[in-house]
Symmetry: C2
Subunit: 337 residues, 2 copies
C-alpha cells in the first residue's frame, strides 16, 4: 500500500454518521477504557467518595463513552451533564440508556465553550483531559474555562493536581531501531527521514531500568487555580546521574492526584509504574551523553502550542552538561504531533 | 482524553505541507519498509532478475518512499517513473536525490489515472498495491488501469498472482477480550459497542495453532488478465475440520507470487507464515461452532465496495454447517474499514 494518507484523509471527510459509528474508530475509547490504571483511579475517586457526590450536580467535560458519568450516577449524584463535541456522544447516550441512567445523565453534544447548561452552576467537574506528555491535544484549557464559567465557588475538580517529570535514559538499542535505521534502508540513505524522526518525540513504553538519572519535576499544575497561560511554560531541570552509563534520550511522564477525595488518589505514568495508554514520551538527543555517577545533566525545557496547529506542541530542550568525558551545550527543537 | 476524533479530523485538514512532512504520519511507511517479508520479496524479485530490468522502462504505481524504484534503478532499468498521489512523493524525491538516482527515476505526483508519462509505453509495472484482506483500500484498480493504458503488449507486472484463503479458528480467549468484554465494562452494559465490534473484521495476528480447519481458496487473481470487476466477487468455501474443537471465527489471508521472475518468488500472509504488517483478518461468528474432526464448514463469501465509501469493503459470509453437535445456517455482514 501507498496512497494510504490520501485514503485516510478522504475517509475522515466522509459522512459523519457512517464514519463515527464505525467500531474501528472506537479504538481509542477501547484503549482508554481498558487502561485500568486510568479508569480504576477515576472509579475509586468517584465510588469511594459517595459523600462528595451525593445529591450533587456534576459536569463531565469530554465524556467520551460516558463511563465517568456512569460512575457519578452510581455514586448518587443528583444530575450529571455529560458533554462531548464528537459523535461518540451518540454511543454514550445509548450506553446510558441501556444502563437505565437516562434520567440522571444528560448528554450534550457540542463544544464545551458553546454549551448552555440548564443550571447556573455545578458542584463538581469530572474530566479525563490528559494527553501524551500531559499536555498534547489536551482538553485542559476547556476544563479551565468550564471551571471559571460553571463551577460553584468552592466546587470540586476531579482530578485537580498534575506534575510533569523528566529523566535521562540509556536507549541505544531502540535508538538504533528508530533513528539510526534511516542511515541504511536496504542499502539506501534515508537520512531525510531521520531528520524528521529526530524532530518528533516518540510515545512509547520505557523500561524502568533504562532510566539512568534521578527525575526532575518541570511542571506542577493545580487545576483549582491555574490559568490557560500556565500551559505555555519554560522550566529548568537538573537530573543527577545514578549510574555511569550513556544517555541517548530524555524521557518525560506525568502523575495525577485527586486531592479532594476523602483520601487522595494518585497515579503515575512513570517508567516504573504500571502500564498506561499514555506510555512515556521520549526525546532523542542528537549527541549521546557519556555520563558518570553523580554528574548533573541540567537544562531548560520550554513548551508552547505550535503556531500552525495549536493542538500540536512545540517543545524546546536545551541541555547543559559538563562531564568527565564530555561537555555539551546544545538545543534541540521538537514537535509533538 | 476524549474529543480525540475531532482532533484527528481537524489534524487531517491542516495544511498539507505541515502535515505530510510530519514523521508521525510516516509511520505506515516505516511499518511497510520494516516488513522484511514484503520488502525483501520485492528486492529479490527485482535484484535477482537484472536481466529482466536491464535497459527497460519501468512504472512504479503508488511508489511511497520510492524503495521499489530504487531497487529497479539498481537492477539497471533505463528509466523509472515513480507515481504517487500523496505528498510522500516529496520524501521519495529527496531520498532518490540523496542516493544519486535522480537521473534514473522521475517522481510524478498525481493520480495515476491523470498522469501523462513522457513515453508511450513501459516494459514493466512494479507496484505494492496490497491491502488488508488483499483488497482493502487497494490500489489494484489503479494498477489494472495503468496496465491497460501504459504496459507494452507482453510487458511484465510484478507481482502478478494473488490468492485469498479462509479457514476457521479457535479463538475463545481473544473473542472474550475483544467481543464479550462489552457485556460488562466496569459493571456496565456496553452491548451497543459489541454490535459494532461484530460487524467489523479485526486485523490482527492469528497464531498458527489456532487454525482448526484446512484452508479454502476463495479468490485467485492473475494481474496479467484480470479486470476491476473481478474484485467484486462471490465465492463458495469449504473447510474440513482438522481437529475436534470450537470455531469462533473465520480467518482470511492472502499470498502473492512474482511469476514472471526467472524463478517465481512467493510469499504468504498465512497464520503459519512469518509476520507481515498485513497480519490476518478475523471475522467473528455470533455463534460458536462445535466441530468434530472431518466435519465440513462450508458457505459463501461475497465482497463488494461499500456503497457509502468505496474504499471500504462490504463482506458477507454465509455459513452452512451440519455437525454432530450443532447445525448452523446463518449469514453475517461485515464492513472492513
Amino acid at each position: 500500500m501507498s496512497e494510504t494518507e490520501n485514503k485516510l484523509l478522504q475517509k475522515e471527510m466522509t459522512s459523519s454518521d457512517y464514519y463515527w459509528n464505525s467500531y474501528a474508530h472506537f479504538g481509542i475509547h477501547e484503549e482508554m477504557l481498558k487502561d485500568s490504571v486510568r479508569t480504576l483511579s477515576y472509579r475509586k475517586a468517584i465510588l469511594e467518595n459517595k459523600a462528595i457526590f451525593k445529591d450533587k450536580l456534576v459536569l463531565d467535560v469530554g465524556c467520551g463513552t460516558g463511563i465517568l458519568s456512569l460512575f457519578a450516577a452510581q455514586a448518587g449524584a443528583a444530575h450529571i451533564y455529560a458533554v462531548d463535541s464528537s459523535d461518540i456522544i451518540i454511543q454514550a447516550e445509548q450506553i446510558i440508556a441501556d444502563n437505565n441512567f437516562s434520567d440522571k445523565i444528560t448528554c450534550m453534544k457540542g463544544k464545551m465553550e458553546d454549551i448552555e447548561l440548564p443550571v447556573s452552576k455545578v458542584d463538581i467537574i469530572i474530566s479525563e483531559w490528559m494527553g501524551y506528555f500531559l499536555l498534547y491535544e489536551t482538553m485542559l484549557p476547556t476544563v479551565l474555562k468550564a471551571r471559571d464559567k460553571w463551577l460553584k465557588p468552592g466546587g470540586i475538580i476531579l482530578p485537580d493536581q498534575a506534575n510533569i517529570y523528566l529523566a535521562c535514559i540509556e536507549d541505544g538499542d531502540y535508538k538504533d531501531e528508530k533513528i539510526e535505521y534511516w542511515n541504511n534502508v536496504y542499502g539506501f540513505n534515508f537520512s531525510c527521514i531521520q531528520k524528521m524522526a529526530y524532530r518528533e518525540p516518540l510515545v512509547d513504553v520505557v523500561n524502568a531500568d533504562s532510566v539512568v538519572t534521578a527525575p526532575s519535576k518541570i511542571l506542577s499544575l493545580d487545576l483549582n487555580t491555574c490559568q490557560v497561560g500556565d500551559l505555555t511554560f519554560e522550566s529548568k531541570f537538573s537530573c543527577v546521574a545514578e549510574k555511569t552509563d550513556y544517555a541517548h534520550a530524555i524521557v518525560a511522564w506525568f502523575d495525577i492526584t485527586f486531592s479532594r477525595c476523602h483520601k487522595p488518589i494518585y497515579f503515575s505514568t512513570s517508567p516504573s509504574s504500571k502500564y498506561t495508554h499514555w506510555k512515556q514520551t521520549v526525546f532523542y538527543l542528537r549527541e549521546t551523553l557519556t555520563i558518570c555517577e553523580g554528574e548533573i545533566i541540567s537544562g531548560i525545557i520550554g513548551t508552547a502550542p505550535n503556531a500552525k496547529n495549536e493542538r500540536d506542541l512545540d517543545i524546546s530542550i536545551h541541555v547543559d552538561f559538563e562531564g568527565k568525558y564530555q561537555s555539551l551545550h546544545a538545543t534541540q527543537e521538537y514537535v509533538l504531533r
